[in-house]
Amino acid sequence: MAVRQNGRPTISADALDPFAGVDFSHLERSLRRPRTLVDFLLTALVTTMTLLALVPLFSVVLMLLWRGGQRLRLSVFTELPPAPLEQGGGFGNAVIGTLIIVALAVIVTVPVGVLTAVYLAQARESRLAGAIRFCAKVLTGFPSILAGVFAYGAIVLTTGGYSAFAGAAALSILMLPTIVLTSEDAIRMVPNRMTDAAVGMGATPTQVMWMVSLPTALPGILTGVMLAVARAAGETAPLLFTALFSNYWLWSRGQVNLKQPTASLAVLIYNFAGMPFPNQVTLAWGAALVLVLLVLGANLIGQSLSSRGARQF
């Protein structure tokens, strides 16, 4: 029989009530207990730290939008870089240069990287596979400047000039480990029952790879490619003395020439941001905004592809 006191139901003082006089407070969560308090404080600490970790992202994007947004116009994509103390101008050739250099790097790196990953996924734990995996992991931390130095010695000096190819070669060194490692993960994640079923029906290993593993792992592979592209598009140091920079379009009076110094967004930002001329500096901010939007776009595409792939199983 519950008796209402102060508007709240209370436990009746009936002698048949097994819970009479029992104190439930120690079963309730109370911050006065040290363990609970520590738990609460740690949660608060970790939440604060996570939010703090996100602050730079918003700060960078806001900074770019504020400083670069004012300069962003359609003319900026169709015009060439201005001379010092000149007004107007744009970075159209840098946008095209970045796209072309990254495209060249992708054409070279993706076949090599994916086929290497195919080998690693098939060879599993062999000594050679282990060595290659270790090399790929070491290569992820490879200083970007050394990739440029290597490409300078290997390509610029031997071909006698700065070119988009040298820039693409330097970038492909940086893209390769990402593509190899993520593609290998994606191929390994294909469920064994699928590959076993194909083998059980009589397919050769190559047929298994082409008909079962690669199509299934394709979203994961594309994620890796997108991440590598995003990284390569933002690199400056490798391009500084391989593709150098150019103040003109890639097509000179009717012909496309890839064997000449090529403009790129990353090098333009690096060169112009340190200049004392306000026109150049605002262009650098605009270019930074365009570059970050390109790179974030590539990342988002990559992430959406991987999530779509993962949701099948």
Binding site: P84, L85, I107, P111, G161, S252, V256, K259
Partner: protein
């Protein structure tokens, strides 16, 4: 499997063929592309020249990249460019490394100023002892006696002096260190004249552009940059004491007076290390264009000749507005006569 797989392999194989396809001759018989790289000192002027030249001439494309005098000289030696630029001219041993020989042309001249960032202090006067002491790291605070003595009315703050120097190999550094060695024995013994001097103090920035940006962003800084950069950013420049004891501000007149004190020899390389003329600004230099004596094609040689001629005649008109010193007539005549040394193989 078969048709698609063959297509895939073809794409992979095509990667190998692709470079060969696109390395077809890039220039039509009419278009000549000239690639130049070098000093940041004259970069604003050169870029303006080459842009107007390219727009005016339908068959020539001239591109210039400001990478520093040292890089410019290296590119000329490595044959990765068609011409270079340097305000430290070119050392004899470097010239010997180029088999076909090089021809240097003085294209313009400029003063190197000590720009500073000090709130509330304009018209800063620096004596020879003061500014050489600053770069030696012996004078470390703005209210030091050596600086205060020359500026009786100014309110100098008790801030540390943030010296900004060049991080890259630079002709501007060479000229400044050469001048400091001439006026201060200590400096000459410990650091000496070099394109990359071992500065005893200072934070480093890349290019004239980088030093300018550093000075602008950090209060209490002082650094050496070309006059045009300081003028375009409306930065305060220190008045320096010259050999005659006068405190001179950098200007076209004081620069020309300094250049007049050094006669140009036949190879057109000369340094006005410490001008003796009363109205001269103490730190002034020519800057040179480095061309090969022999070019592989007649078109290129002719284009280079025309380009140099343009710079020496039409181009001089733009020099003063951008903060450079127009070349004396005698120098223009001497340089023009040397154009014929550039020819085709």
């Amino acid at each position: 499997m078969t048709a698609r797989a063959v297509a895939m392999f073809a794409i992979v194989a095509g990667v190998a063929v692709f470079p060969a396809c696109s390395s077809a001759p890039a220039e039509s018989t009419n278009t000549v592309k000239l690639q130049g790289a070098g000093a940041s000192f004259p970069a604003p002027l050169y870029t303006k020249w080459f842009k107007s030249y390219t727009t005016a001439h339908q068959n020539v494309l001239v591109d210039y990249q400001s990478v520093g005098s040292g890089s410019g000289v290296k590119s000329v030696i490595d044959h990765t460019v068609d011409f270079g630029a340097s305000d430290a001219a070119m050392k004899a041993e470097d010239m010997a490394k180029v088999p076909e020989g090089v021809q240097l042309f003085p294209m313009t001249a400029g003063s190197i100023v000590l720009a500073y960032n000090l709130q509330g202090v304009s018209d800063l006067k620096l004596s020879r002892k003061a500014y050489s002491g600053i770069f030696l790291g012996q004078i470390t605070r703005w209210n030091d006696k050596a600086i205060a003595d020359a500026n009786p009315g100014a309110k100098l703050p008790d801030l540390p002096i943030n010296v900004v120097v060049r991080a890259d190999s630079s002709g501007t550094s060479f000229v400044v260190s050469q001048h400091l060695s001439a006026i201060n024995d200590d400096f000459g013994k410990t650091v000496g004249a070099n394109t990359m001097p071992n500065w005893p103090t200072g934070t480093k920035s890349k290019g004239n552009e980088g030093v300018t940006a550093s000075i602008l962003s950090t209060p209490g800084s002082i650094g050496y940059i070309e006059y045009g950069y300081a003028k375009s950013q409306m930065m305060p420049m220190a008045m320096l004491e010259n050999k005659s004891g006068k405190f001179v501000q950098a200007s076209t007149a004081s620069g020309q007076a300094a250049l007049a004190s050094a006669a140009l020899p036949d190879d057109m390389i000369v340094w006005a290390k410490d001008p003796d003329v009363p109205d001269a600004y103490p730190i002034v230099t020519y800057t040179w264009l480095i061309c090969y004596k022999k070019y592989p094609s007649k078109d290129k040689a002719q284009a280079v000749q025309e380009l140099v001629k343009y710079g020496l005649t039409e181009g001089q008109k733009a020099a003063e507005t951008l903060g450079y010193i127009p070349l004396p007539d005698a120098v223009v005549t001497k340089a023009t006569s040397a154009i014929q040394n550039v020819s085709a193989q």
